[in-house]
Amino acid sequence: MGYFEHLRAFLHERYRLGGLVDLATHKTVPIHRHSVWYYWGGMTLVLIGIQIISGVLLLLYYRPSAQEAFESVRFLMTRVQFGWLVRSVHAWAANLAIFCAMVHLASVFFLKAYRPPRELTWVTGVVLLFLLFGFGFTGYLLPWNTLAFFATKVGTEIAGIVPVVGPVVQIFLRGGSDVGDVTITRFFWLHVAILPIGLMTLLSLHLLMIQLQGMSKPPWVKSNRSMPFFPNFFLRDLVAWSLILGIVLCVSVHWPATLGEKADPFAPTPVGIQPEWYFLWMFQTLKIFPGHLFGLEGELVAVGLTGLAGLALLLVPWLDRPARREQSSWLVWAVGVLGIAYVVGMTGYALWVKPH
């Protein structure tokens, strides 16, 4: 018996790990022509893992205050060995994680994997995506450069539009009436303490549900072909993870994260301030909305509609009634396609109008 078997026997004797091992290994992965979409959740997971490691490393040199944040990041980028790499990986993996999570969400939507009994897996997944947005929004400010400062100013301004709770949320986020020294402390607190707790909790639930219920198969796939998750699918997962790791490294080395100028709260807002790409579609929606609509303020309507869309996304398992009866509905399909077309179109539009 090798060391590993000894250890396993030791633990098994004391903690009856059989159930856990079963939980990890009993799952199978259906094989059909849409199987490729099963990789995206795993890729998001490994990117989140990269984020945790690189984020913990960044904590070693980062100082969360308006006086020192920018300087500490510059120090990290220029003086600390491989500091540039750690920060670039953190910045790039963040973007890729959100991208993978979006693709994962879209694939689950079109493959109707949210059908009973997997409603809560969907709900936790959607909330996880919102949390990733929260990570992106709070993390963007932390280097305290001009772009981040003003993007945060505009972003928290938008939060203030929401009636009743908006101003409270705005004050809560900013820690005062304006974006300043207090804001950076709060965003740091959210970014490294509150959001991670939420992420870990929901991520564990999300993964546990998947392990308990196994992988879903689209209603129209009749074949029962499948492969064991461990090791067959897991090895394939590892291939995908290696590829994503390679991509993260390539982009981080070739296009390292930049720092820009230190934020000056008293400087006029520079032209062409835009949030991160995953917020662009919302930003652009606000911009193109007419000033007044049905006797309401246009911005309010835009924010309200975006909020409703978010709520609808969360409730998809219950809104899609035909799916509950294992039927496909062209209407749900069309809504999904239109939604994606809108988000992609608006993002593209925002990127296209930027230089003008």
């Binding site: 070693l60 100082r63 006086q67 300087e71 510059r74 120090f75 003086r79 060995q81 491989f82 790499l85």
Partner: protein, 147 residues
């Protein structure tokens, strides 16, 4: 079945997986360990800098220190006061120095002279030197930009 082929294949597989995995681990750990090792004696912040130790400067001496990518001048005046200025001459950006005989700040390029408040005494400089704030924190003399 030829036993040789699966064997060499297995060896190759083990090389790829175990060796590759170990190499990957090394490739990840190398930058991380280098990252964790503290960089040599530089302060991270540029809006303030530890310019010298308290004992470094005798009365009526000065020291050039680095403030970001520009030089600064830290002076202990004949009265024992600590003063700090940007060491960049306002005339043609030469680095100024302390003249302990005359107790003035002096630029060697064109003989620009400043008093110990950074004001121009004589020579071509059009403006006074930018003054910095000096604080003593424990053993360190901290120079910071006045905001």
């Amino acid at each position: 079945m030829c036993p040789r082929q699966p064997l060499s294949r297995r060896v190759f597989l083990a090389l790829c997986l175990r060796g590759g995995g170990l190499a990957l681990l090394g490739a990840a750990l190398y930058p991380i360990l280098r990252y964790l090792y503290p960089p040599r004696g530089v302060e991270s912040s540029v809006s303030s800098v530890a310019a010298a130790k308290v004992g470094d400067l005798a009365t009526n001496t000065a020291k050039i220190f680095r403030f970001g990518s520009r030089p600064g001048l830290l002076i202990r005046s004949p009265q024992g006061e600590l003063k700090a200025f940007s060491a960049v001459c306002t005339h043609l950006n030469c680095t100024v120095q302390y003249d302990s005989d005359a107790s003035i700040i002096w630029c060697a390029c064109h003989n620009g002279k400043y008093d110990l408040n950074g004001q121009v005494i004589s020579g071509p400089p059009p403006r006074p030197l930018d003054a910095y704030q000096v604080n003593v924190r424990g053993e360190d003399i901290i120079v910071s930009k006045t905001s």
